[in-house]
Symmetry: C3
Subunit: 141 residues, 3 copies
């Protein structure tokens, strides 16, 4: 049984949905040593979130940002407004999408579907690089 845990900081990104699979897995060469296991990716923030979605057409990312911003508008009668109009919608979107993803590891690689990638969902207009905690657990070969 193997446990590996790392903290990394993603590069800063603008508001929107961003594919970060490679940026995460580049930090995890140990994946190759796991025959069966799970990767847990956790974001230490409450105004950005992590998801799994399409890794191909970049228009999907544009539409995800548009769609979530229509569903969670900035003009709801929020009380918590001191950090700007994008802040409270960011907390709601983070609650909807979630703070972590868990992905199966099989034969040394993430067992994602061919169209799947890991998303950083950045809900703030101006954010710094987001901190992630990566936890691998599994059996070696």
């Amino acid at each position: 049984m193997t446990w590996i845990q790392k903290e990394i900081t993603l590069k800063a990104r603008p508001r929107g949905f961003h594919l970060v699979t490679r940026e995460v897995t580049d930090q995890l060469p140990e994946l190759r040593e796991i025959s069966v296991g799970l990767l847990h990716v956790f974001i230490q923030h409450t105004s950005a979130s992590l998801g799994i979605n399409e890794n191909a057409d970049p228009d999907v990312r544009v539409d995800l940002e548009m769609g979530f911003s229509k569903i969670v508008p900035e003009d709801f009668p929020y009380v918590h407004t001191m950090e700007g109009p994008d802040d409270m919608p960011a907390h709601i979107k983070a609650a909807m999408i979630g703070s972590s993803v868990t992905i199966p590891i099989t034969d040394g690689h993430l067992n994602l579907g061919i169209w799947q990638g890991i998303y950083l969902c950045e809900h703030r207009n101006h954010a710094s690089g987001r901190r992630l905690v990566l936890t691998i657990q599994g059996q070696g070969h």
Copy 2:
């Protein structure tokens, strides 16, 4: 410490919310051998999702489909439309509901509440059977 991992394909289902607890657990006789552990169920698609919800009144599934389709309508100004009007709402619903569920295992069975079941949330009008990766980890008796 036991690790078991399987890939299965659910039978194809129409758009809507579907109870699949039995279809999943029928593939997992090994659950009986686990005294304490977790089951991770992962869907390898980005236009369907997995959730946990009520296992009793089928009207709840009807209302979930109606509700999510009102919240994420097909007439938003999407850019990614080449796969049909149900495609981009499917990606948004999948981001909301999520690609996996993790359920505690206790004394050889899934420790769900009495009203809980595993849902396949099928967001496309016409989809094939969805592929799942099932990962059990835990301690034997």
Copy 3:
């Protein structure tokens, strides 16, 4: 490799978003013995949910309740209405937010961001205390 599993009942709370980090961790003195691991918190109900969100300004919790109740209104044309107008929205919110959270454990404590806490999201007007299944897995020191 350590596995610890407990079932607890949270005290009953009114409809809304509630910070329960302390109520959960007070039941888990064993966290201190884990150097690297994961905590899985699972709710055995389908009309309340678990999330991770801001632990500081209580106004965030007020706005989360307001926002989700606007996004998932009680006046959708629901079929499943026999348990009251707050019931079906509760199931939809639970599907959105999710039935469990998984949090990394590092050096004997939950490795949350400094602004993060565990939320009980209570979607019913009048609910009893909610049952949780807590599962710790990890390596000792």
